[in-house]
């Protein structure tokens, strides 16, 4: 495994004069500030030297007169953050998509939210903000004023956001454009895909994200660290524990807080329970998407006891509010150990049954084997994470490579499949549930005594930290920068879906329309992203907003 010292000395040797500053404050973390414009050399050097190197994300931070760009490059375990600064008046920088295509969406995100222009990017356009967002307004810049939205309210809900399907491209072509979403039975969250379809074959697809963008990164800057824990928990209802653990770790790393051993074990339990119910949810949804409803109903029935356990431990079924900076918020009483073990062993038996179904059932095999192929080489290039990468034979698991919580003391296997198809990704998840059950049983036997929480001051020292956890959907990254106050200066969240959705185009091109749900669901997409309701009458271009009172009035009238 690559060590962070190796990476740093390599950069210093080969690009010595271009490296301005180099810090390694924590194990497996390095922050390297490069001379302006030399980030490409550093990144390509890392990509060439170390196998399994990918870009985790790009963080843009407004530092007043300049914008700092942090390229978080993961060399399996260590994360090397290559820093580069661009002036705010003329924020331009060379793209890295030609070095590593997986950075395409991250560059679009920074362009969208901070207005940095990536020269040479093949398709630089909005990623998450709506199409009617005012031009030249970049919400993550510190001088951004929300008033601009009020001033431009008459422009919101413009024509540009409406796309019509069914248009035939060219008179002789048989290609039809079909819009799937934002509302569609196969999607459980709003998201738009425009497919180009020739008969029953998919020619191309373009996803559009951002339908539920809530501006959490901006909101996080206005809340104190301990409040932000509850904010990041609401990024995703399913993998909430992963988000809170990840954020807490980042802040603990900035503040040099050592959490008690018991807290590390309790975090592991809740994290694994989270993974189990997330994977079970996905297996059920897969059954639904493939028209195998009994599988859906059975798996979701068996998911309930897991939620009951989470409720027993934390008091809530889904949003657990269990982790906090400095440990966890509740103790695990020894009297429920037995109950958890009993449920887990029952679930393990059921999992054998479900695994058998996925492995053996001929109709499921017909629909998932050889569908949605993602070759290991493309998986590496596109920097996919989690079960998607492991289904393509890439052994990558943050729990092992960049151990956190109690994972360095727990024996477990990293499941990989070489089949590279939807079926492999399903099998990875099914087997991971069994692994998670074993981890929970092990943790219950080895929970140390002592306190489960340490007191943490509200103010954190100046600093920055990259924290990674293996969320159920893959690598989750939080980058937190503190300026010495009780409020974070910048919080950056890269959820696993953003890393994986880029591979959808690769997966679906050339396959059948009927494979769309099977392939999409095998990525386990979870789209987090505006909430105000705007109504548009397309025919006469009238736009208006409805307040809650208007709706109440209407309701009374009817």
């Amino acid at each position: 495994m690559t060590s962070v010292e190796e990476a740093v000395s390599l950069l210093k040797d080969k690009l010595g004069s271009k490296v301005i500053e180099c810090k390694t404050p924590k194990p497996r973390r390095a922050y390297v500030l490069m001379k302006s414009g030399y980030h490409r050399d550093a990144i390509s050097l890392l990509l060439e030297t170390f196998d399994e190197t990918g870009v985790s994300t790009i963080t843009g931070t407004d530092l007043g007169s300049e914008i700092e760009l942090n390229y978080h490059i993961r060399c399996r375990g260590p994360v090397v953050t290559i820093k580069n600064k661009v002036p705010k008046e003329k924020p331009q920088i060379m793209t890295i998509t030609d070095l590593i295509p997986g950075a395409a969406l991250y560059e679009r995100e920074v362009f969208d939210l901070l207005g940095v222009v990536f020269q040479g990017h093949p398709d630089l356009k909005r990623l998450i903000l709506s199409d009617d967002w005012p031009e030249g307004s970049y919400p993550l810049r510190k001088d951004w004023d929300p008033q601009i939205l009020e001033k431009n309210a008459h422009n919101l809900g413009g024509q540009s956001s409406i796309v019509n399907g069914g248009e035939v491209e060219g008179a002789t072509s048989s290609v039809v454009k079909v819009i799937v979403g934002p509302q569609h039975p196969a999607l459980h969250e709003p998201e738009r895909f425009s497919f180009k379809i020739d008969g029953e074959v998919v020619v191309d697809v373009e996803p559009r994200l951002g339908y539920v963008h809530r501006g959490i990164e901006k909101a996080a800057e206005r809340l104190m660290f301990f409040q932000d824990v509850h904010l990041v928990e609401r990024i995703c209802g399913i993998c909430n524990a992963a988000h809170t653990i990840c954020f807490s770790q980042a802040v603990e790393s900035i503040g040099n807080i050592e959490i008690p051993p018991k807290a590390r074990y309790l975090r592991t339990i809740i994290h694994e329970l989270n993974r189990i119910h997330s994977h079970l949810l996905l297996l059920g949804v897969t059954g639904f998407e493939l028209g195998y409803e009994p599988l859906f109903q059975y798996v979701w029935r068996d998911r309930e006891p897991v939620l009951d356990i989470i409720e027993m431990i934390t008091g809530n079924r889904l949003l657990t509010a269990f982790n906090t900076i400095g440990g966890v918020r509740r103790d695990l009483k020894p009297d429920i150990h037995e109950k958890i073990k009993k449920t887990m062993n029952k679930l393990k038996k059921q999992m054998r049954f479900y695994k058998n179904i996925i492995e053996e059932d001929p109709s499921l095999r017909l629909r998932t084997r050889g569908v949605g192929i993602l070759k290991p080489s493309s998986a590496k290039k596109l920097c996919v994470v989690g079960p998607v990468a492991r289904g393509s034979g890439i052994s990558m698991d943050i729990r092992r490579d960049d151990a956190y919580a109690a994972y360095d003391e727990i024996p477990f296997n990293v499941i990989t499949y070489e089949d590279c198809d939807s079926w492999a990704r399903l099998m990875v998840r099914a087997e991971e549930i069994v692994e998670s059950i074993d981890i929970i049983n092990y943790v219950l036997d080895h929970v140390p005594g002592g306190p489960y929480r340490v007191k943490v001051p509200r103010k954190q020292p100046e600093g920055e930290a990259v924290s990674r956890v293996e969320a159920p959907r893959g690598e989750l990254l939080h980058y937190v920068k503190s300026d010495g106050s009780a409020y974070p200066y910048r919080v950056k969240v890269r959820s696993p879906t953003l890393a994986n959705i880029i591979s959808f185009r690769e997966i679906i091109r050339g396959s059948y329309v009927a494979d769309i749900p099977a392939a999409l669901i095998s990525l386990d997409p979870c789209f987090s992203c505006t909430d105000r309701m705007a109504f548009v009458d397309v025919n006469n271009d009238r736009k208006w907003h409805w307040s809650l009172n208007d709706i109440k009035r209407l309701k009374k009238r009817s």
């Binding site: 039975p185 009994p294 109709s363 017909l366 629909r367 059948y512």
Partner: protein, 330 residues
Amino acid sequence: MPIDLVFFLRVLIFPGFAFLLAFSLFCDWFERKVRARMQNRMGPSYTGPIGLLQPIADYIKLLTKEDIIPAQASRLLFTVAPVLALSLFVFTFYYIPIDGLNIIPNSSFEGDLILVLVLITIAEFTMFLSGWSSTNPYSGIGATRVLTQFLGYDIPLIVFAIGPAFLSGSLSMATIAKKQTVPFVALTPWTFILFLITLQAELGKDPFDIPHAETEIVAGYVTEFSGRKLAFIEIAKDIQVVLGAALVTVLFLGGPYGPVLLGPSAIWYTFWFIVKVLAVIFLLEYVGSVAARLRIDQVVKANWRLMMPISLLALALTIVCEPLLSPLVG
């Protein structure tokens, strides 16, 4: 048959229109309940005793909903297709012996089996038309899927139907049913099983619910329908299921004929008819519960490469076995 009160009672009340409607709604409930129990769910249970009135409640709800015709749709076809689908299925039912007689007694003739198969084909085509007339990409894909799938399984279905006709030496549904002193399911089980699988595809049930696969193409060919038109299509589909099950009953299970114990035979015949149809629906639901939805190309391949030769082989087998079986045919 003279056109008198009895004629009207037979056509409109029993075993005609009202009975068919009530029976189809009951079968709808039965289907949903069976499917729910298979999936470890409750199924309809609130409206009426054990949820029996749920299908009626659903249709009343649909009738109160707004009826929308898309601006681009072909208005005439869009309006006529649902009505046509329902009337064709109801009309087909008039050739099925229910209480030992047809709905209009003595309307059965030599060759009505062919008429029924043709009518089912035309009714299937109205479903394609309903999707094609609504000019929605999802409906369009759904409609082409109806036709593609249908081209594959319609021929095997007809070939399988030849088996019972050959054994009984008649093309009249009533005669085929009457001749089964030993039901043909016992004589030619191979044809029965294959006929059931093909029927599963014909009815668009799992694993062949490709034309209305909701996670791929929303509701397929019915996507643009709402209100009364949707109610017409849904009830047509209900009757189609009962019709399919009735076809199996007549061709393989001896139709309405069974032991008569006490009282008038018509009541017993109706009873046996209902029991057999429900048994067939149970089988259909059972198969539907243990399989994932297939893909259209897989179904087309399976139909042309497998089902076609198999159907011909099954027919050949029936013909070869005919001398052995004929003593058992009444």
